[in-house]
Symmetry: C2
Subunit: 414 residues, 2 copies
Amino acid sequence: MTASLNPDANSTPDPCDFTEPFKSPRGSAIRELFKYLSRPGMISFAGGYPSKDLFDRAGIGHAMDAAYRSDPVACLQYGDTAGAPALRRAIVRLMNERGVNREIDDLIVTTGSQQGLDLLIKILVAPGDAVLIEEPAYPAAIQALRLAGAQLIAVRTDVHGIDVDALSEQLEALDPVARPKLLYTVPTFANPTGATLTTARREALARLAMRFRFVLVEDDPYGELRFSGEPVKPVIALADTIPGASDWVVYFGSLSKIVAPGLRIGWSIAPPAITRRMLIAKQTSDLCTSPLAQETARFYLESGRLAEHVPVIVQAYKKRYEALSSALRQFVPDDIEHVVPQGGMFVWARLKGGRNAAELLKRAIEQNVIYVPGPAFYVHRADASSMRLSFAAATGEAEVFEGVRRLKLALASR
Amino acid sequence: MTASLNPDANSTPDPCDFTEPFKSPRGSAIRELFKYLSRPGMISFAGGYPSKDLFDRAGIGHAMDAAYRSDPVACLQYGDTAGAPALRRAIVRLMNERGVNREIDDLIVTTGSQQGLDLLIKILVAPGDAVLIEEPAYPAAIQALRLAGAQLIAVRTDVHGIDVDALSEQLEALDPVARPKLLYTVPTFANPTGATLTTARREALARLAMRFRFVLVEDDPYGELRFSGEPVKPVIALADTIPGASDWVVYFGSLSKIVAPGLRIGWSIAPPAITRRMLIAKQTSDLCTSPLAQETARFYLESGRLAEHVPVIVQAYKKRYEALSSALRQFVPDDIEHVVPQGGMFVWARLKGGRNAAELLKRAIEQNVIYVPGPAFYVHRADASSMRLSFAAATGEAEVFEGVRRLKLALASR
């Protein structure tokens, strides 16, 4: 008995009567690329993983030791469903630095921010409900909504994120009976486009949420990873200045990209009616997030090392981005164009001349380099020329240059 | 803004259009008792927590250190959605000792076994679907099924667990169109009754699952905590001897009661079609279970300390159970009768003379002792005289005696 993600692998008919979205579900297209990662010499622009070389190994190890020595029972016993109060206080302080003023009761610690979205979908989205999502978008958000049976409505984006004027027209044209329950966006250094929504658009988006009564989900795992340009306040902070708007904004934060994903520590900030229900949903989802991981995160945040370490990550990513951008301009100026991000982990690129990114990937794999073809990020009609290049996982600039040189070989091998 | 679990606390109408089960959800009745736990001098028979005095603090701390020193990146980076292969191998060996023969691909590491149930419900239960559940039952299972919109059908139990003859008649009487999707049971040292299903009933139950085509969920967090009587094989092991039956059995295991709940490490063992879909559901639920917690669990299991430590827990629980049982017989023989468990953490008791356990709880709280009134464990019609007494959390026999003496005072204070 083996567990393949390919539903066709099992030729006997399934005896169980699965729910509609799970009758023949597809696994993640990105995870299908994982099998190539272990190949000797493979250079990957594919992953959404933070760089393993940039973990503060000593600092996190020290926090783990200190937490366990200080109170082993707090690490080992069940904890509050909402999260350990001391960790929530540390996150409240972190959010204050981002311009967001909330109390610990407004905040739930989640098992990664992915769980925050899962809980919110449980309480808000019934099969058949309409949901708005920026396009292109984070594939696990698309998948989570699809598996909940949502009717996805793609929202147009440009280099500054969601096109709020187009969205406004789109909302006015919709049947009010089928109004969308929520809108999902990564407004800062988006996955996959790297785009950052302007302040004016953020405010307009919050007003649209209030006017059309949908929950605006601000997913913000990358916000601190800015390597150029001016900081922009989170949508939830801007919504606080618009009377009534913050009733409609839910913010998801995460330690995955600034501390370590292995902790699985994220958080949600939401209005009370939503927080209360997410807590009830969390009781039956996993009772509580690992107290061992929570105490480690708490001691790490309390140590003050994060403020010193984030600039280290940002400088490294800046260099890797610059290497990637300059390699693309140097080696493949006539074949690949790309958008310029101000932070995050991704470069959104496009093959010129209508070439197909999934086709090119086959030859790229022969050259021992991989990336994610754009269609994985689309809801309906994909731009088949688009591709996402992550510069985060590269071990250094030399590797980035070598990777792009291989892309050039793949392009030439047509 | 505060997050109370009482939906009536917020007097303004909710602006959001929540899904039906979340329009006015109730939080856990047991968690409502938590506020009394912090009272000075309170003695609790209420919790489902394992004893904090019985954690192998040194052993787990050592495993954590060894894991982090051995491979910090494995602890800090994202991991396999199915779980770390080395941990799955260790769990396969643990399951072999329980008489269950499976490969690592049949097994998913879950964020506590609670997540296993959550994932299974996602792939199997649509709103309105019929689901069978033993009664009385683990409240978070009842709640998880209710929040998924399931139509719950209670299955009668006695001192030997599910009454399979009654279940068989019940199934034959059901409309075949509305056949139940699954049946949930804790067959060994059940929560709350402490009952253990006999081997003959286990086999009959597996045959019923196959005949009536429902997924039989064997939730087994307490199975290793046997302090008297003869071991019984897990239902999943017995089903392997009945051709075709194992296609219908899903097993949930957990380290929460034998190592520590703070790790949030559980696992599912299921047929391939179910495992494949649970994996896809897990990708969108939390991507993966904390690799830091997984590596700690792996090093602990590989250390071999579990085999030495489980008997320590069992001996302590045996003594605490015996103290509780003898205190009940000594102090309140005419007021409280109880079932004799062969292991686990719970004594299921009943107030004689039709007295109400929720009413008594008010006076018990005045005497600084708490327990869980039975109705929390019922789906429809509750036995209002029943109550669950946990002996696990008591710090020792003297505390158990003092707790029962206070119950006697509460009984007398009517």
